[in-house]
């Protein structure tokens, strides 16, 4: 194996960095999800903290704005008893002219054990993982429009919990797939798990050109694409796209692609509705669906903590054993 997929695995196939779900073996995905289930049960204790990563230092390197993802990584690290430092790079080194490489070397010198990286440029976490000293793990918390692997894993965990093995399911992803790292990572994750029917629903301007290569079926009419699916994944419509002439208006989007109760009837009776958040009510989803019994959006948030705990514990575990 070469390239990104090889960079994130140890020679004996364990996960040392989590950079992408592309090429991640099914056995590893399942191990990550199973580990997250174990952590989920520890989250039901009155004391939610486990001592596993006591003494480890996790550095959140956020080169791009994020409150939600950063918070879940913070909580995950704290619940593993790690020390957490959050660097808002936009207001620190980079603005003083320090290069990414020099920032990294400084953080290494501070004996960090794990970097959680979010960057607006696709590939930045790979650059970092390729250059850090061997005992530091790197987790991609979103890079450009490229990948958001922990989101994909928490989506897979949610799907598996509610609907069972993805290899038996039909999944429809709706909205702006073209600019969505969430969609891209989920598609790779679903493929890795052997999902036989992945559909992309959206206007031509918001669907990527390489869907066929990914074995994803494109649909422009939501009524066609939703038929008999088990899982409906909505994506957040990023407001900034509105200004770039890719879409006429939010109202127009809701009319054509918004998830309403009547459209949800086209999917299977017990289909689940997912959304990575934050949701725009009245744009991607109407209130009745967002607050309805088929929405599992808040369950995704809870699973997100457990997945991030699992990824941190497993990557650091592989780093340790790789040294010996």
């Amino acid at each position: 194996m070469h390239g990104p997929a090889a960079l994130q695995l140890t020679p004996d196939g364990r996960i040392r960095h989590l950079l992408t779900t592309e090429g991640l073996p099914k056995s590893l995905i399942i191990e990550l999800l199973d580990t997250a289930e174990t952590f989920l049960s520890s989250q039901g204790q009155p004391v939610k903290k486990v001592p596993l990563l006591r003494g480890k230092t996790v550095v959140n390197l956020f080169f791009e704005n994020s409150t939600r993802t950063r918070t879940t990584f913070d909580i995950a690290a704290h619940r593993l008893s790690a020390d957490v430092v959050t660097l808002d790079i936009r207001t620190s080194s980079a603005s003083k002219g320090e290069t990414l490489f020099d920032t990294l070397k400084n953080l290494e010198a501070m004996q960090a054990d794990l970097f959680v990286v979010r960057h607006s440029a696709g590939g930045a976490p790979f650059f970092i993982a390729d250059r850090v000293t061997p005992n530091i793990a790197v987790i991609n918390a979103g890079d450009g429009t490229h990948a958001h692997p922990t989101q994909a894993l928490l989506d897979l965990m949610t799907i598996r919990k509610h609907k069972g093995d993805p290899a038996q399911l039909s999944v429809a992803i709706i909205g702006d797939l073209k600019h969505s790292r969430v969609a891209r990572s989920l598609i790779h994750g679903l493929r890795g798990m052997g999902c036989p029917d992945i559909r992309a629903i959206g206007p031509g301007t918001l669907l990527p050109g390489d869907l066929e290569h990914l074995a994803v079926r494109p649909f422009h009419r939501i009524e066609d694409g939703l038929k008999d699916v088990d899982v409906v994944v909505l994506l957040r419509l990023q407001k900034e796209r509105m200004t770039s002439a890719l879409l006429p208006s939010e109202r127009e989007f809701f009319n054509l692609y918004g998830m309403t109760e009547s459209r949800l009837h086209l999917a299977k009776d017990n289909a689940i509705v997912m959304h990575p958040g934050p949701i725009n009510r009245g744009v991607e989803i109407e209130n009745e669906v967002a607050d309805g019994p088929q929405a599992v959006i808040l369950d995704q948030v809870t699973n997100g903590i457990a997945i991030r705990m699992a990824v941190m514990a497993m990557t650091l575990s592989a780093q340790k054993n790789d040294q010996s």
Binding site: D34, T35, E37, T38, F39, L40, S41, S42, G44, Q45, P46, V47, K49, V50, P51, L52, L53, A313, M314, S317, A318, K320, N321, S324
Partner: protein, 167 residues
């Protein structure tokens, strides 16, 4: 795998353990907590025999003290515990006692569920080699101070104590 204690001998040790537990808890029923996986089997047998409620189970893999050297060892199981402990007496059960580190971890987990009133320890086989000041209150059989080396309870039905081929 080579056998150290046969099915019959294992049952004898279990009977001996249950006898002590029955005597000690003649007036009250403790919350029985079995450590996954062998301890949980023993806990079930004890509760069955004494007509007590189903035991709780603990998975201590997230509380181990050897992450630094051995990494994550996940058992793939989850706890089955009451939501909150409020001063109840607890009978903690494990299959084989060796260094005492597993019991240390289990006690830590219990305290993350609240405040136990008292914790007693019931063990099926003691193989010696303690590294912590932890001793059982109830013991099925002592395998001697010299110890028998690495061993493993196989089960749940029938139970026997074996030496694993290699790990």
């Amino acid at each position: 795998m080579r056998e150290i204690r046969s099915q019959t001998e294992t049952v004898d040790a279990l009977v001996c353990l249950i006898k002590q537990v029955k005597k000690a808890y003649s007036n009250e029923q403790p919350l029985v907590v079995g450590i996954r996986t062998g301890g949980a089997w023993i806990a079930s047998r004890i509760c069955d025999q004494l007509h007590w409620d189903e035991p709780a189970t603990l998975d201590i893999s997230l509380y181990r003290d050897d992450f630094e050297t051995s990494g994550l060892k996940r058992s793939g199981t989850t706890d089955r515990m009451p939501k909150q402990l409020n001063g109840e007496p607890i009978l903690l059960i494990d299959d084989v006692l060796f260094t005492g580190r597993t019991i240390r971890a289990a006690i830590n987990v219990l305290f993350d569920y609240g405040r136990p009133g008292r914790i007693d320890l019931g063990i099926l086989f003691d193989r010696g080699g303690r590294e912590l000041p932890i001793e059982p209150n109830f013991l099925g059989e002592s395998l001697g101070e010299k110890g028998v080396g690495r061993c493993k309870l196989v089960g749940p039905e029938p139970l026997a104590l074996m030496i694993p081929d290699s790990e």
